[in-house]
């Protein structure tokens, strides 16, 4: 099984500031997919952003962007201009690109607090 590590159980950020959530993963594969999911108090899991390992360009979605460092096996999420609605648990996930790579492996999550 692949290992996905989120080393920051909790983070906080001032409203309108920028915060970066860390994620590292362990794999011997060269092709895979990475995802960030947000889980607000409502419990719904919401896709934030995704990245294909073969793409060198970092993915962006509005205020959310990633810093994908393939050699370091690092996939951090940057949230710019933080808003109160960004407060949630954030999970990093990995999936192999192999035909048999059907499983998604999740990290243990980072709880983000946004301070008004």
């Amino acid at each position: 099984a692949q290992t996905v590590t989120q080393s920051q159980p909790e983070m906080s950020v001032q409203e309108a500031e920028t915060v970066t959530l860390s994620c590292t993963y362990d794999t011997s594969e060269s092709d895979y997919y990475l995802f960030w999911y947000k889980q607000p108090p409502s419990r719904q899991m919401i896709l934030v952003i995704r990245q294909e390992a073969y793409k060198q360009q970092n993915a962006t979605e509005n205020r959310f962007s990633v810093n994908f460092q393939k050699a370091a096996k690092s996939f951090s999420l940057k949230i710019s201009d933080s808003q109160l609605g960004d407060a949630a648990m954030y999970f990093c996930a990995y999936r192999s690109a192999k035909n048999t790579g059907n499983q998604f492996y999740f990290g243990t999550g980072t709880s983000l607090t946004v301070i008004p």
């Binding site: 099984a1 997919y33 419990r43 995704r50 294909e52 690109a97 059907n102 999740f106």
Partner: protein, 114 residues
């Protein structure tokens, strides 16, 4: 388009009882998954299915069973419930038509076994 629908939202079971968590999706997704979420542990895969009639074990399958008789439905069966099965359960699905397709999740079922 309802997406992924899970029922019930909450359930309390006594030790040794059995129950089925229902999951249905209306997106014609081939792949379906069951995860459990425990505090501080992230999501762990219980079972998954790549299509009707095909199921496979994930990381933590013991104490659970699944079936996939149709594309839409993927029920999770708990036999002889134990306190260790107290958790939040998520059903998810994804299409097989794109390689980087993400998971679409239901709203979860909070199960307590006492």
């Amino acid at each position: 388009n309802a997406g992924v629908t899970q029922t019930p939202k909450f359930r309390i079971l006594k030790i040794g009882q059995s129950m089925t968590l229902q999951c249905t999706q209306d997106m014609n997704h081939n792949y379906m998954y069951w995860y459990r979420q425990d505090p501080g542990m992230g999501l762990k895969l219980i079972y998954y299915s790549v299509g009707a009639g095909i199921t496979d074990k994930g990381e933590v399958p013991n104490g659970y069973n699944v079936s996939r008789s149709t594309t839409e439905d993927f029920p999770l069966r708990l036999e002889l419930a134990a306190p260790s099965q107290t958790s939040v359960y998520f059903c998810a699905s994804r299409t097989g038509s794109s390689y980087n397709s993400p998971l679409h999740f239901g709203n979860g079922t909070r199960l307590t076994v006492t």
